[in-house]
């Protein structure tokens, strides 16, 4: 057993810190303030392109596709450092989801056409999975694609589509065989968001953000060459992708960074004429949260070291998802509590420059409400518990 990183890994950490230090002055101010940031498309792209220029935008991609090809440990160090600096993650839809699927199952033409533009940020991708009737039970999806000569004609609806309003492309699970068993008639298809017949309708969520959308398909013509892999094999690709999606979900470094910011505001906030952080009740709550977070960080590291040894990962991602999302929610809850009455102004109707009360209070309640989604998305925590019960405990 050895807790330390190798000298090479420590040198890598210094490189990452140096890069962040140099990048920060070039970035919009709200990129470094995660609690109140409502990032625009440009905000995301500025960050994405800086990383792209450095060759770091795709840590997990192999060199042949322009990735950084980092080890699991390097990737961990990188994401921990950007979290600590309050920088956003790059969006997963292109880099973490459809990119790997295309690499693993796509045609040569698809690799050539799509991968470079995912890397450069020229194409913004969104994910067409959930439907109004297909949430936890994703395989019951009904969005239909019918082959017609050189095209598929797509009809139906997707929902909870994150940032679809910015997207150039959507990767969709569609039903291509209605006679087959639920999982077997599904295909994975890439659709140009500019295609006639696509309508994007925003869904406003609890913090007022326009983060998710409904996407409607009305006789949308999609070239048959945009099918990934084989027809009716989409569920296999979807499962491959979901494993990718989940493994990123514990976010201990990100929660630790949020806790550090929470501590700093608790030094400013007052209770009974003293800093809030001196209040034994509050200090105890902070410590209890941090204790769980420290354990979570080690759970992450433990799983990371297994992964680094090349062990096959299975339901570990479910453990990380449940524990990580619940801690994220608790940090946000305590941050909201810390600002007392200044949690109550409604961010929904306040612009970024119109904060009521102390600047740090703005957006904290919104973040608490927003993060209720964390135990719902990416496979709800109930579904994750089912997976663990079955796959790990053998129940």
């Amino acid at each position: 057993m050895d807790l330390s990183f190798s000298p090479e890994e420590e040198a890598f950490r210094q490189d990452v810190r140096k890069f962040i230090g140099e990048a920060k002055p070039q970035l919009p101010k709200n990129l470094g303030a995660p609690e109140r940031a409502r990032l625009s498309k440009d905000d995301y792209l500025v960050w994405h392109r800086l990383l792209f220029k450095k060759g770091w935008v795709a840590p997990a991609w192999p060199k042949e596709f322009g990735g950084a090809d980092w080890s699991v440990t390097q990737r961990y160090i990188f994401s921990a450092e950007i979290a600590k600096a309050g920088m956003p993650t790059t969006l997963p839809f292109g880099l973490g989801m459809v990119g790997p699927v295309i690499m693993a199952f796509g045609s040569e033409a698809q690799k050539k056409k799509f991968l470079p533009r995912i890397l450069s940020g020229d194409d913004w991708w969104c994910q067409g999975y959930s439907e109004p009737g297909a949430g936890s039970d994703l395989a019951s999806l009904r969005c239909r694609a019918v082959r017609d000569g050189g095209y598929y004609i797509v009809n139906g609806q997707k929902t909870w589509t994150t940032l679809a309003q910015y997207a150039d492309w959507i990767f969709c699970l569609v039903r291509t065989d209605t006679a087959a068993k639920a999982q077997e008639g599904i295909s994975f298809i890439l659709i140009d968001m500019k295609s006639p017949g696509i309508t994007v309708k925003p869904i406003v969520i609890l913090d007022g953000a326009r983060e998710v959308n409904e996407v409607f398909f009305d006789n949308v013509k999609v070239p048959a060459e945009n099918l990934v892999g084989e027809e009716n094999k989409g569920w296999t690709y979807a499962k491959f992708l979901l494993a990718h999606e989940r493994s990123a979900l514990a976010g201990a470094s990100r929660s630790l960074a949020a806790l550090t910011r929470l501590k700093s505001l608790a030094r400013t906030e007052q209770l009974d004429g003293a800093p809030l952080i001196h209040d034994p009740n509050f200090a105890r709550k902070l410590a209890a949260l941090e204790a769980d977070l420290m354990a979570l960080e080690f759970t992450e590291l433990r799983i990371l070291s297994q992964e680094a040894k090349g062990e096959k990962m299975g339901s570990e991602s479910s453990i990380l998802k449940v524990a990580g999302s619940e801690i994220q929610q608790r940090v946000a809850d305590l941050a909201m509590e810390a600002v007392g009455y200044y949690a109550l102004p409604d961010d929904l109707s306040l612009g970024d420059n119109e904060a009521v009360g102390p600047d740090y209070a703005h957006g904290l309640a919104g973040r608490y409400f927003n993060l209720r989604k964390a135990s719902i998305y990416g496979g709800s925590n109930e579904i994750q518990r089912n997976i663990i019960a079955k796959a790990v405990l053998g129940l």
């Binding site: 039970d137 406003v204 609890l206 009974d272 209720r372």
Partner: protein, 371 residues
């Protein structure tokens, strides 16, 4: 022992709930909370006509002589409909302080309150003070027949709709000292009062208020009002506990209905045992919340009233959060949307959890009352 409501109380509930069902649906609420005014002023007049404001006020001053149970009935229905009108600041706090203090100001204002001719907001919170009513930097000094106020107040709920403000200020003593706290009535339109209005959670409106030599009238005794104020606020808290129960009831119905109709994996999600147990826990929390509210409201006049109020406030905050978070989780993505009412009830419950002291604050008060 009898927990049933009187015939009059049931009549009050029925007529109010009928009115709210007809005129204060979630669709109506969405419409008027999004107007610049943020409310439909006709509701305030209607509530007055229904006698809601007169109900808890003393008969001698235009009231109907009811008590906390009448308030509780009204507030439960208000909570169910997410009512935004500042009934508690006007009737329970403004009315309560005036009725208990008496004098010419009370004689002038109480009939107005009963008739719905005034709207009040309670300006007590200050940035540094959190939940401590005595932690005040706002000050008042005598000038001529009255007083002038200087200072700032934070997150004054309902203030954009108010014509009068009930304001706490120091007339003596040092910051956080019990002695020297006074309460004043201030006309919002007076010179020296400036406000910045904004929207607050769950359809409410609030203001940040600055007083610069604003003219003020004293309510009650100068410098010695804190015991009375604390007692009146216990009544306000008890009323809001009832409001929380109205909101909780609404969330329980919405969630169980959704679980019966939403199908995944070929069956209603309510058939899954994990969700059944979650909803049962929510239901038990609801039952406990209801008991907590009743306990607080029924013990208001008793010696252990303050402890009961704090116990109920702390416990109910926890139960409310469990129900609200559970309601969103079981609704799934749709529970996260601004379009569905669930999220707005959730926000109202979070707001009520903070208002007049967090659960921790009230646990500390309970402990302090023990010593």
């Amino acid at each position: 022992m009898d927990f049933s409501f009187s015939e009059e109380q049931t009549l009050l509930r029925n007529s109010l709930s009928r009115y709210l069902a007809d005129r204060y649906s979630f669709e109506d609420w969405r419409k008027f909370t999004r107007t610049p005014e943020g409310r439909d002023p006709s509701h305030w007049r209607q509530f007055a006509e229904m006698g809601l404001f007169a109900a808890p006020l003393p008969e001698a001053q235009g009231g109907l002589g009811g008590g906390p149970i009448e308030c509780m009935v009204v507030m439960e229905e208000f909570g169910r409909a997410l009512v935004v009108e500042p009934f508690v600041p006007t009737v329970v706090i403004g009315g309560g302080l005036l009725a208990r203090s008496g004098g010419a100001l009370a004689d002038e204002m109480l009939p107005k309150i009963a008739a719905g001719a005034t709207v009040m907001a309670f300006a007590f919170a200050e940035a540094q003070g959190r939940y401590d009513l005595a932690d005040l930097t706002t000050s008042a000094k005598k000038q001529g027949d009255g007083y002038v106020l200087n200072g700032q107040k934070s997150v004054v709920l309902g203030a954009p709709w108010a014509d009068r403000l009930v304001v706490t200020a120091r007339t003596g003593g040092s910051r956080r000292e019990v002695q020297g706290v006074s309460v004043f009535l201030v006309e919002k339109s007076a010179k020296g009062v400036s406000t910045r209005d904004y929207a607050a959670m769950s359809g409410l409106r609030a203001s940040e208020i600055v007083f610069e030599n604003a003219p003020a009238q004293l309510i009650g005794e100068e410098g010695a009002v804190l015991p009375l104020l604390t007692n009146v606020l216990d009544r306000a808290i008890a009323a809001h506990l009832a409001e929380a129960n109205g909101a909780i009831a609404k969330l329980m119905v919405a969630t169980t209905e959704y679980a019966k109709t939403r199908k995944q994996f070929g069956q209603p999600i309510g058939k899954f045992q994990v969700l059944q147990h979650h909803m049962v826990d929510m239901f038990i929390a609801q039952q406990q919340a209801l008991s907590a509210s009743l306990m607080a409201n029924l013990k208001l006049g008793d010696a252990d009233g303050p402890r009961a109020v704090s116990a109920a406030k702390a416990a109910l905050g926890k139960y409310a959060r469990a129900v609200a978070e559970g309601a969103v989780q079981i609704h799934g993505g749709i529970g996260m949307t601004d379009e569905l009412d669930v999220g707005h009830y959730f926000k109202r419950l979070v707001l009520l959890e903070v208002l007049y002291g967090s659960p921790d604050h009230h646990l500390c008060r309970m402990a302090a009352l023990d010593q």
